[in-house]
Amino acid sequence: MSAGRSPPQVGAIRPYEFPTIDRRRLSNGMDVRVVSQDTVPIVTAMVVLRAGETAVAAGDSGLAVLTADALEGGTSRFSSTELARALEDVGASFGAATGWDSTTVAVSCHAEHLARAVPLLAEMIRRPAFEEAEFGRYRQQRLATAVQRRMNPSALAVDAHARFVFANGATYGRPLGGIEASLARLGADDARAFAARHYGPAEAAGVIVGNLDPAEAVAVLEEGLGGWQRRVEALPEPSARPRSRKRAVHVVNRPGSVQSQIRVGHVGVDRAVEDYFATIVLNLILGGSFSSRLNLNLRERHGFTYGVTSSFAVRRGPGPFAVSTAVDSAVTAAAVTEIFREIEGIVAAGPNRDEVETARNYLAGVFPLRLETTGQIASRIAGMIVYGLGDDYYRRYRDRVGRVTRADVAAAARRHIRPAELCTVVVGDAGEVAGPLEKLDIGPVHVHDEIGPEAGG
């Protein structure tokens, strides 16, 4: 063996700090956060609105998403085409994105065009036309997306798992993009009313990141949004009631499937959970990385799958904890058995010391890797705003990750994973997979031909 063939020595670590956030306020009190960087001449400007799907009543599922879609459908001054041209003429890209807890409307462009792009962004938020015909187009597109989700096995598995994990009527039991029955009857008036109730400066925030002068950036935002006045309604609390506290198996029949899409999990934790850092370390070890227990078992030992992951969807309320994979139909029951084995194993015995150290190092190391672009930084700041994280949150992030112990992770596993309550969803050929699943001790097997909006369990 030559000298070059043994693992290398490590150089000296270089310091990294989350960029400094300059906090300002517009004259109407709107919260603004600016990060100025001397890098590539690109800027991202974003307005964060607390108007996610959680803000929508059960019968209006999809309204927050549709309202945000329709923001680019024209304003009182510009048609949809004029708006797109005005932005794309200078190379700007723009769009709105809606999650459970927020809607963000963002534009990204060359730094020299910031003063042109931000007023258009403000225009979309303050004066959307919500014209009926144009709104109808977005509705038709969302309906088509819902049809696509029904026929895509992995999307169907995600939606079916949410449906069976959460109780009927629970916020998180429905698909984020809305159910067809409510989408079909939503109109432009509903969007107008939703924006009037939930888009307003007091609850909104502006985020601008990039190669810019902070004073200029704030001045541009002030011009566009400083005169915006509107009071918004308080947000309802999301409901995350579980359907059941017992194990159950739901097979969604997709005859002829050559693979089974598998989801195993239950109601997870919310963003404010006390032991958040122990929980993300736990998830990395169980199924959140290539070297996770689940992936090394199902993929690298058994060859059952191309990949398997686990995740805790953290929101204002507890989203699902889920293990996700797709396997050859013939090994469905064997793969589910191994998933249960790994879940039960980490709850019973916790992780080992090496796993915890690896996971801690991973999180500390990838931190700057995920903060290279203006868009990535703006998204992190948006998350700080939506979840009320302190200004020093990312400055202390690596320290807090570094302090997570083996005992903390073992405790998080016992607290947040409940093997006796696991709900298993399999989207696949029921004729082939239901029988073998019945032989496992993972709860009664229900076979469904389709998943209605309020399917029983």
Binding site: T81, D89, V366, P368
Partner: protein
Amino acid sequence: MIEIEQHTLANGLRLVLAPDRTTPVVGVNLWYGVGSRNETTGRTGFAHLFEHMMFQGSAHVPKNGHFHHIERVGGSANATTWFDRTNYYDTVPSHHLDLPLWLESDRMGWMLAAMTDEKLENQRDVVMNERRQRYDNQPYGDWDERMQSLLFPATHPYHHTVIGTMEDIAAATLEDVHEFFATHYLPNNAVISVCGDFDADHAHSRVRRYFDEIPPGPPPPPVPGTATIPFATGETLRTDVHAAVPLPRIYMASRVPPFTTDAFYPGEVVANCLGSGRSSRFYDRLVRTRRARSATCHLLPLTTGVTIFLVIATGFPDTGIDDLEHAVAAEIDDAGTLTEEEVARAVVGAETRTLRELQRVETRADLLSMYATCFGNAARLNDDLSRLRIVTVAEAREWGRSFLHPANRVSVRYIPGGSPTADEPAT
């Protein structure tokens, strides 16, 4: 403007260094000049399966040790296989620069010592499941197989897909692994790019330390088959697929000049004008008018004699497939009327997109490897945008007329309903 240094090691390995000390991260990226185009009959999908085997260890690294080492220091690693190349990339905190260099050099030089039948069997299963997940169990999953076999004659290296057939994946042997490694995985058939937070002289010496002792091999054999074919299919060729898909969709493709030619640039302008962004013709004339749910245009950067101009258009549940095709074809046929304003918008859009992409060391390193591989000069990345800027409206129009006509077009049409396997040729 990216600061670039280029070297060639004695064994033929080309090295590109692009230091930038903004963020303490470093990206290492290797392009091997081998992809699905190099596969021989009965071994489709092998380049990709081989890429999987590259993570199964080497003489001094255990199975999955690559991921374990990289994840342990907070890095990320992956690889992809495409028609013309296979890339491997690692991004790590910059004080761990040596780690990816050591790992990548160990598998470039000492991979075969770690290969076993058991590992091959495991990764054959993994890849077959990848195929099931991404192609066989996915609505429209077989579109590229159908499109490529229609667009390219059986003798062209792009006739078959990167994933390959189940039979061929199952047939791969350990001997194939040995032969493929000896033929293609050579320092003289690779480029390594290092981007990010480091000193160029230091990085140069570290690369030499790990890679210098790997011996070169004979130049890889020519790509099998016939790369040079006319930019024409003779007529519009169609395949109708009555399948369990949610919405009608058309994949329309044409043979056009490859990435390595000057004629590629007007093509990029045309593709952006027609199908990129919300002021594009497709969006404005097809999506806004509800004739399509979505419609986009893509010019792939392929190099082997020809590349693919691709249009993907999806309808609504009640859109007729002929209506969808006519609407899309009418816009393509109308490319001869592109305006100054549209061309300018396409160029500035591409410029801003490139700037945005270059923020990430991973992308920067990959693009540098790409330019070094395709042009023998990574620095060409810096003036590539200027080649786009000089494209005139007349050139864009002429490009559309020359390459996108109905006698250079294939159309794979998915029609909802029917059994998943039905397949009848139309026209």
